[in-house]
Symmetry: D2
Subunit: 149 residues, 4 copies
């Protein structure tokens, strides 16, 4: 590919990278993550909570919601084509989740610099927020081979 990629090429690259990552990500598969939407720096994911994901209070374990948001962070930030790794993440669990709930994670890019990317992920259940997640990634100089057409 010569020159700067077009907008359509950037979207296509993001889709290829995310599809490849999910296909090789056994834990996101165990969670049952589905990709609803992909754009450079942004994804929307869905999953359905199962009884085996509960904690000692009969609610969904906070780690499950975090993992779902963290996959959204990885997919959103790597869709630019460069390998990006999580540096710092933070999550507030604002409402209890239960088995059977269908969760949606919307990741958006708040800012992108040469070395760092800043993302926000909101996790909702039936439209109501259940977790607020923020993540910062370090952008390495390695490229995803899947990103090349």
């Amino acid at each position: 590919m010569s020159g700067s990629p077009t907008e359509a090429e950037r979207h296509e690259r993001a889709r290829r990278v995310v599809a490849h990552m999910l296909a090789h990500d056994p834990f996101s598969q165990w969670l049952g993550v589905e990709v609803l939407h992909v754009a450079p720096g942004a994804v929307t994911l869905r999953m359905t909570v199962r009884p085996e994901m509960a904690n000692g209070f009969g609610r969904t374990h906070g780690g499950v919601t975090y993992s779902f948001a963290d996959s959204a962070l990885a997919f959103a930030s790597n869709g630019h084509g460069r390998v990006a790794v999580s540096v710092d993440t933070q999550i507030a669990h604002t409402r209890a989740v239960q088995a059977g709930d269908v969760l949606e994670a919307v990741a958006v890019e708040e800012q992108l610099t040469e070395r760092l990317g800043f993302y926000r992920v909101q996790v909702t259940s039936a439209g109501a927020p259940v977790a607020l997640f923020r993540g910062t990634v370090y952008r390495t100089t390695h490229h995803h081979p899947e990103g090349d057409s």
Copy 2:
């Protein structure tokens, strides 16, 4: 139990609460969490990483390490006998983890007020830190029935 519990009674209560929580926590069981040490406000846990816990880079998914630390937070903070729920948590993944690694999580209480508890969890693999976790919990007025002798 009348009067303030003795130190030995407080330890015994913490052990009963944590044992009950883990016995009813399917996701911590899926992770393979073992309890190595319990004290009021503190726990040490161990787990062994399995291949199905990997992410799209062939490393352990950040959500697995978070979940492990989050279980340590829940066990440490609930061991006082009052139901405590996570408010805000933060994690930095400082070194890659791989299948076969044996992780240890040490949770310590940084501060405890009437309404809030502040904890730090360090996750190590073979003695080297792999994740730095901080968590704040809200202490409800409900008591764990298991905490009563």
Copy 3:
């Protein structure tokens, strides 16, 4: 005031509480904070950075930007009329700030429960983000007397 306050009364209460807080807040005054907009759970503030606010690199000290965002958190969360205190806050400094920059902080409420409030504050300079802030507050049962008409 009997019954639930109307929307107009809630806005008026927020304005009274914020005006009273700022009038009694010497550090926000030292920063030069001006209130541009107030609504229940939301504020927009402005300040101009001065040379004495620099750090050892000749850029604005991160604590100044944090303080500005933290005032926005306090004003947004207390505008409901109940005294709210900060529990956990987090900030990423995404771009350097310099003396002479005019900063704007926009605080929005992400979620509100009986006991906790979750806020996001974006700080910009000339429209470009310079800091991303998140804050959680604990809502006490005390009311601001200024909130009563």
Copy 4:
């Protein structure tokens, strides 16, 4: 300087860098920051809270405590001789501070990699913790000229 610096040289470099940073940092001077101890990756600072540092509740503004901890982060992380900039910081204000309080900030390095540094800062007043701070810095490839002997 040829070869790896000795332990004594590393301490001396840290002291030179911190002394130079504080001497050029007007906001830390406004706070009244004093350096009690410096080592590579670690510092202990002291300051006395003044009435003009209060917020709208008559307590010390959370931004003052954050600023104090953030200076400790900057001094601890830059003492290695490479310019380090803050990426993500987080603070929990666990106890109210008042004018006249003498604060101490102890910054320790939790982990150091080629590109990132992870620090914890505890702020105390008369020995009791008032704030728990965590910070991650990005280590640039620029060196502090003051670090060279």
